[in-house]
Each structure stands twice: as C-alpha cells, then as structure tokens.
Symmetry: D2
C-alpha cells in the first residue's frame, strides 16, 4: 500500500507543490485547507490526493479530520505542518487576538498533530514531521509582533518534539525559508523583481521530500533555504 | 514625586527581591500577584509598596489593575514582567491547555502590559520594560514542551517591542537567568548543593536595577546571568 | 567532460566516502591529503580519482596542488574543505601553537581555496564550496579551546564567502555534523555503543552531494546532521 | 594596596574611558598600547595609571610587558582585552595576511593573556577577564572577511575560558558593542548623524566596570550594548 502524507495549509504555492512532489513520489496525499474549493483542482488531477477541509485552528475539527484520514488511509508516514497564521504590524498596531490566533494555528495545531501522529509513527517503526517557517522564528523584527512570537514558539516546540521523538525513531524538523515564494500575489507585489528573486515552490517541495527521507544515521533538524541572490 | 515601578509575579523569590531593590532605590512599587496574602508582609514592611491582586492571565483583571495603579500613582517609569507560567513534561505528557495558559501569562499579558505602558513611557520621555526568563527562551529541551515555546515567544515579542520602542526612547530588555534561584523549595529540592550553587534573588534584582537604569547611549537587550559554578 | 570536485582531508572516513559518492556521480575527483599512501587504494580502485599529496597548512604547497589539479582537470565545479586540524584540552593545557596551526588548516587554507576557486566558478557560471564542521563552530566548551575558536572562525568566514558569492552564482555552505562518525578509531573508543550510535560516512557524503547540487532558487547555507539517537 | 587592572588597546576612545573609569574606581591601571606617545597624556593626568608600550601581536613583547607590570604592581584583579585588529573588505579583496594578523591580536594575544592571568587570579581568590567586541563576532557579513572570523574565534575562545575558569572563581566575559563609538574619526565619517547616534565611550566603560564587579552568584557572560536608536 502507498504510504500516506498529511499536508496542512494546502494553498496555491508551497502546499500544492508539496502535494505534487509526494504524489509523484508514490504517496497518498491527505490535503488540509480551510476551504475545499481550492483543493478540487488538485483532487481531480491527482488520483491519490484527497481533500479534507479543516480549519486547523479548531481542535475539534482537526481531531475530526485526522480520524477521517485514518479511516480512509491509515496512519501517515509523513506529516507536514505548512498551515500558517500570519500578520503584519508592530505590537501597538496589531490586535492582540491576531497573535492569539496565530499561536493557535502555528503552535497549538502543531502540538495536536504531533500528539496524534508521534505514537502512530513510533508504532509503525518511524516517520517524519516537518514544519515550514521563516526567519521570524529566529528574531523579532518590529513589524512582525503578531507573527514572529508564534513562529519562534513553533520552532522551539518542534525542537522539543524532535528531542523526545528522535531516539524513538520519529524525525521532527524545521525548514526556515528565508525567501519570497514565487506566487501570483508575491509576483504582483514585487513586480519589478526578476524571476530568480523568488524561491520556487517546487524547489521547496523537493527539499522537504529530501529531509523527510533522510536515513536515520543523518537527520537534519534545521534546514535553511534561500535563493542564491538573497541577502541575509 | 517618586517614580513608579510595576512588578508582576511578586512571589517569595525574585519578585520580592525586586520590590525591595526598587523600594530602596526610591521607587513606589506596585506589586502584582494572584493573591494579596503573599504581598501583605511586604506591604506592611515597605511604606511605598502597595499590592494589586491580579491574575495577569485575565486581560480584564490586568486592565483593571493597571487602571487602579495609574489612578493611585500615575504612569510607571519601569515595568518588570516577572510573572511566569511554567510546566514540566514532554509534548505527549503535558495537557495542551497548559501551554495555552503559559502563553497567556508569558506572552499575551506581556503584550497587554507593553501596549499600555509604552505610549505612556514615550509620552513621559522614557522608561524601561524588562522581562525575566531563562534558557527555555532559547532552546526546546524535550521536558519543557509546555513551557519553552511560550518563553521563546516571549523573548521574540520582547525583541519586537525593543526594536519598535528603542528609537522612541523606551528600553525593552530580556534577562536570561540560567540558574537555580535560591528559594525555600529549590533548597529543599537541591538539598545537597552548597550555598553557591544558587543564584541570589537580591543579585538578580541588582542586575534588573542596573539594566533598567542604563544610559540610553548604551542599552542591553539581552542580559545573561549565571552563578560562577554553573555549567552551560 | 566530467565535472571536477576537489576534496581536502581525504582520510578513511568522511573523505573517502565523499570521494566515492562524487565518483559514482560522474565526477573526476582530486583527492588531497598529507600523505599519498592513504590515497593509493582509492586511486587504484576509482579510475577518475587522483591523489594530490599536499599539506593544506602550507600555502605554497596548496597553491602548487591547485595548479597541478587545474592543469590536469581544469577548474572544479565543487570544492569540499574537509581537512581539519583538531585538538583537545582546555586553554591552560593546550600549546598555543596548536590553535595557530588549526587556524591555518581550518581557516587560512579555506580562505586560500576560496580565493582561488570562487573566480573560476563564477566565470564558469556557478559552483559550490562546502565546509564540514561540527558543534565546536557554534560554542566554546572548555575542553575545545585549541579547536573551537578555529572552527567558529571557519564558519563565519564561510558565511562571508557565501554572502559575497551567492549573488554571483557560487554556493558556499557549512555542514555541522553533530555526531560521532563511524570509523575504526571511534568504534574502538566507543566500543560499547550500538551501530546506530554512529553517523555513517556514506550518509554524510550523500548529504554533501545533495547540498552541493541544490537548484539555485533554494540553497542551504547551514546543514545540521545528527543520528536519530543523538541528544542535543 | 590598590587593585590592578590591565587594559590592552588604550586608544583615544573606549580604552581611555576604561582607564579613567578604573582609575576613578581606585585601581592602578596598566595601559598597553603600541606607542607610548598616545598614553603620555593619560599617564601625566592620572597618578595611578602607567603606560607599558607593547605590540600585543608580538608574544615575546607581551610576555615582557606582563612581567614588567607584575614586578611593578603585582597580579591584576581585572584584565580587559580591548586591543583589536580590524579590516574591511570581502574575502577576495583582503590580503590573507590581514586575517592572520587580526587572529594574532584578537585571539592569540587573548589566549596568552588568559594563560598568564587565570592562574594568578585563581590563586588570589578571583578576578575578571573581559573582552570587547561587536556583531562581527556573531555573523560573517561579506565586507568583514578579514575581521569577523577572528572575532568569532575570539568570542568562542572567551567562552572556552569562561567555562573552564568560572567554577574556579575567575569571571571571563564578552561585551558585544553593536554601535558606532563616539570618536573624532567616527564623528568625521558620520558627520550628519546627531549626538545620540553614537555610543559614549564612558558608558561602555561604566558597563565594563559593572560586569567585572558582578557578585559571583550572578555573572554575565555576554553583554550586549546598543544606543537606543540603533536598528538591529
């Protein structure tokens, strides 16, 4: 039977690219997103990908989605937490609820996912949980007050999970994407930039595939990705 | 008129030492803690220290407490967020609500405090906001899954605040205390350890005083503190 | 024509594994080591691998070796600085000359290599320079006073190179191997440890191959590697 | 008898301010600089400050200077390594010898100082060794290839020393000054900047005094200093 990957936050960019990469690699793909509409194209195109509409910020909905997935396709070999709650604004400008909400999506949903999958992966002899993030997980720039704290928390929670589950055979890791992703809306916003200013979603997906399939003698926790032109 | 300091989390250790240090330094001291009882001794001993019972995890209660303080003593020159929600256990063992609750105390209460005090400090020509923390703010050890993510988020939020408010004259900073604090319960738990194994609350308080009174040409964001014997 | 890789520090572990991996991948391999003897087996086994005896701590010898290589095989597409000068002992116990010597091998030889290869790679439209290291590049434990400073310097020099050459199409990166490598002498020293305590040289080599062949929209600077059981 | 401080790199900015601060604090001050001329004003102004001309990059000269100081004033209670070898330019532009030379001043001279003072301080029941640095000790920007590696090495060596000597009662620490220091030449270069753009040497000196006199229950390893306006 094909192995299963669960991917949260399947939008038009990284999420879709991840779906395609794992589908090409022989996986069944459970795609989570808030609205099923955005998933219908992928679903009709890719025979082994199926949509599970779910707001990961809602613990009951997420629990439900996981149960639905398990009944259909068993336990996942790989889980990718790509759903993200973002925000822009300094600590005076943001609504505090925004940070709370982002914490829910970025951290609490990850915790719920990990608590559900880790024992199943351990029982199955192994598995991988990967979280996508960016530099906000490492530093607090003024304009990211509603976001960066939740990503830092997410990264550190992923570390807590990696340290607990590594010796038990489950590989948790964090991918820091220090880049502007090539998407219709980023192309519009950075209209003057050349093609190679952007990171390609398919290249992110390839790297996620790589990290989630490393042999267990040589696992990466942190993976940094930047386009060659990126200043840092 | 004496300047005002607001200190959250006034317990028997660091909190009380902070109260004494600022009182000795000529400050009026607004002491926040969940129960007024633990503050009554300090209140009767120190004429310019007053208790404001408040669960900082409750936004309405915190807003109330701040209003009460302002009516009594005006705007603070210094605020120290020493209240902390802690936890022990790996990500499988903890109750998720514990992390949520610690995020509320460690991050959301800080955000609320900062949003309230920063404009007042800026209007007054300056001020300082200091947050106490520890190594959990920097790394996710397995047994701190319910705590470390919230402290990392807190540190990064403090950075967001520092970067926004620094140029506006308000000094936000984070103190990382990599130590076991000398308290009755830590003495009981580490009964075999010599006196100099522990960091003294009064030494922490002295350092907090120092950092919150640095001249603005030379501010510290991060302060690390360890007893001389501490391995790290 | 086959692309060329130059690998310094070809010993029985990581170095040999790197040689084999790139040879399998269709590269000509220039192998640098202080003594040719240790390279003769590889040389006779692998038709496109050739030995260039060279003490990389000697700038004239290194310049000579690079010229020899270029005359034989042209400019390299990939360079891996795996040669390392190590030491054990606290700052009082070591001979200062040891740190000086390690600086020469780990930093100055890297600088010389980079100055020689970077313009050639840029002229050829791209290339990769990868440096292998470990946690000493990030922190100074007491017993690594003769080593850690040189590895930290090496990592930061690699960053300087990466930031300069990235936009010019040359990918510089650092691999932090937080592990005990599976070698005859480490097996002897950790005789009680099970097989999966060790990182496999072939798995390191596979990761080096991966990083040095990333598409330029998604490059890693830092790669962390640890066996699944490794505490960190 | 007055305690002794040894200060390397006594120029017109931080070095002179350190001399004055420790002299004011009751110390005898041994001032090291390459040329005695720049020290003569301080020497005639401050009765307990004396010049010891010495190029710290020359191990024999440094050993000589230390012996001279000890004969005159005994063992130091505090040593501040403020001498610094700097450089500007990317890895292709610099002369490799520059990095070698900076390594000599920033790292090897520190190692020599530490090896000489640490046992004397331990025998005397304590002491402090502080190193001044900047952000180059933490990251490798392209234009600092001849400098940043040596400062990273210096910081990590200081960590090695701190970890070894802390439990033995000697406090080693690193001060990261993320600022433009107020000096005649920096004023000329940043002529358009207001006064409060610059960090004051006297404020740095005050902080060095503070850190080198912390009680041993609460020592800082890293101290960060920035003017309030500094972006970071």
């Amino acid at each position: 039977m094909s192995p299963l990957v669960i991917i949260t936050g399947v939008g038009p960019g990284t999420g879709s690219a991840l779906v395609r990469r794992f589908h090409d690699g022989g996986y069944q793909v459970a795609m989570l997103a808030r609205t099923a509409e955005r998933l219908s194209d992928l679903e009709s195109e890719l025979p082994n990908a199926f949509a599970v509409p779910c707001d990961v910020a809602d613990p009951a909905a997420l629990a439900n989605a996981l149960e639905t997935i398990e009944q259909r396709a068993g336990a996942p070999k790989v889980v990718i937490h790509n759903a993200v709650g973002g925000a822009f604004g300094n600590f005076l400008d943001i609504e505090p609820e925004v940070l709370q909400q982002n914490f829910q999506i970025n951290v609490m949903a990850l915790l719920q996912l990990a608590r559900w999958v880790a024992p199943r992966m351990e029982a199955a002899g192994g598995g991988a949980l990967l979280v996508t993030g960016n530099t906000a997980a490492y530093r607090g720039k003024a304009a990211f007050a509603g976001f960066a704290p939740s990503k830092a928390a997410q990264r550190v929670l992923t570390e807590c999970i990696a340290r607990e589950m590594g010796p038990r055979g489950v590989h948790a890791s964090f991918m820091m994407i220090d880049a502007v992703i090539d998407l219709p809306w980023t192309r519009a916003r950075f209209a003057d930039m050349p093609d190679d200013f952007f990171i390609q979603p398919s290249d992110i997906a390839e790297e996620v595939w790589h990290v989630t399939h490393q042999p267990r003698s040589a696992w990466s926790f942190l993976t940094e990705l930047r386009p060659f032109r990126e200043p840092w």
